[in-house]
């Protein structure tokens, strides 16, 4: 704790800014808000949700608002929810790891139609922290989501 106050404050601001990026994703996509979704990614940012080709730019990510299965989810009622992430910042890059779920309306209840592991690779830009790559893998018993989650603890235990 001998770091200058400025350095300590910057670390906190970074972590909270990254929380905000991740917290904004669900409201943006469930609100069908391109103005909410676009600034979360860098212009060349990627969203790799598995199963089909990744969205390979900010513009491509925004198109998901109109694609299936998203359009059907929203029409029937859905919630994309991100959990509090584990964040590790290293200078101007960061990795955040968390869970996400998609709840879909079905009569008198909501069904969990997706529960996934997420790795968010972020960069500090002139517009704040943005997503360079998000990798999302459903927790279906396969190795990919387990390895993605375990990678949160690779670099250090200083999370």
């Amino acid at each position: 704790m001998d770091e200058p106050l400025e350095t300590r404050l910057r670390k906190i601001e970074d972590q909270l800014a990254i929380y905000q990026v991740i917290a904004a994703y669900g409201p943006a996509v469930d609100g069908l808000s391109a103005p909410g979704l676009a600034p979360l990614w860098t212009e060349d940012g990627v969203y790799d949700a598995g199963g089909k080709a990744p969205y390979e730019s900010r513009d491509a990510v925004v198109t998901l608002l109109e694609q299936e299965p998203h359009a059907t989810y929203v029409a029937s009622g859905c919630g994309h929810v991100s959990s509090l992430p584990v964040v590790s910042v290293d200078g101007d890059t960061a990795v955040a790891t968390n869970h996400s779920r998609v709840y879909q309306h079905d009569g008198e209840q909501w069904r969990v139609v997706r529960a996934s592991a997420n790795r968010w690779e972020l960069v500090r830009t002139g517009e704040g922290w943005q997503v360079k790559r998000r990798t999302n893998r459903p927790l279906d018993g396969s190795a990919a989501p387990r390895e993605l989650l375990a990678a949160a603890f690779d670099a250090s235990t200083d999370h």
Copy 2:
């Protein structure tokens, strides 16, 4: 980043204090804790959960602990869970937007009996940040929850 340290610190404290208000809601209502629930709202604060008349004061909000369907939810086992909110502070007022879910115990599992969009309008008071109005709309495919979520991004992209 040329803001004074004091200003930067205050912003952080505000954001974390608002997180704490929202994080406290679920434990307060599932714990049937009036001492936990009451201080979250201003005296004239409103909780508009749709479908029936809003609770239009702190005292009214606290009565929900004894009303249906809440009493039945708690008796059978339930969890009210708020997601990490997107927070936008403007001086002594703030807006936080997030998802919430109610999980109800049903045999060997819990069913999601409500998944909602939430807009929390908060004010800075002598007792800290408190809720002036919470609007909650189930994610049932109607326009109201979509519009509520998209409104998180109306004022600016500086979230």
Copy 3:
């Protein structure tokens, strides 16, 4: 707000560090990561999940990665998700209260096989904030989880 900047900064760092401990639990257990899980507990830390004997040390907590029902959950696909906690720090100890859920993969959906109330008792150590005792009780309509949640508001309303 007449506290020194250093004191205010420390409070914020404490709260965020505690968030990170709690956020790390799910990725660690779903990623079967002993390096992720072990440093979250003190050497003599306890995890009391009810129903069977508590894990009564860090080493014991780590063994849960290989025990039932955890092993079956992970093999079939599961997510352990913690909600944003209410945190109360008192010097070198802290209490955090939140909800957790376990989502288990089942065909085209995930079922919520556990929704619980959690009390995390933490201590400041040379390795940062660590869990001295976590108590987890399923929200099954019994009094234990309700009392655990209400206890978040016992000490004060200054959360």
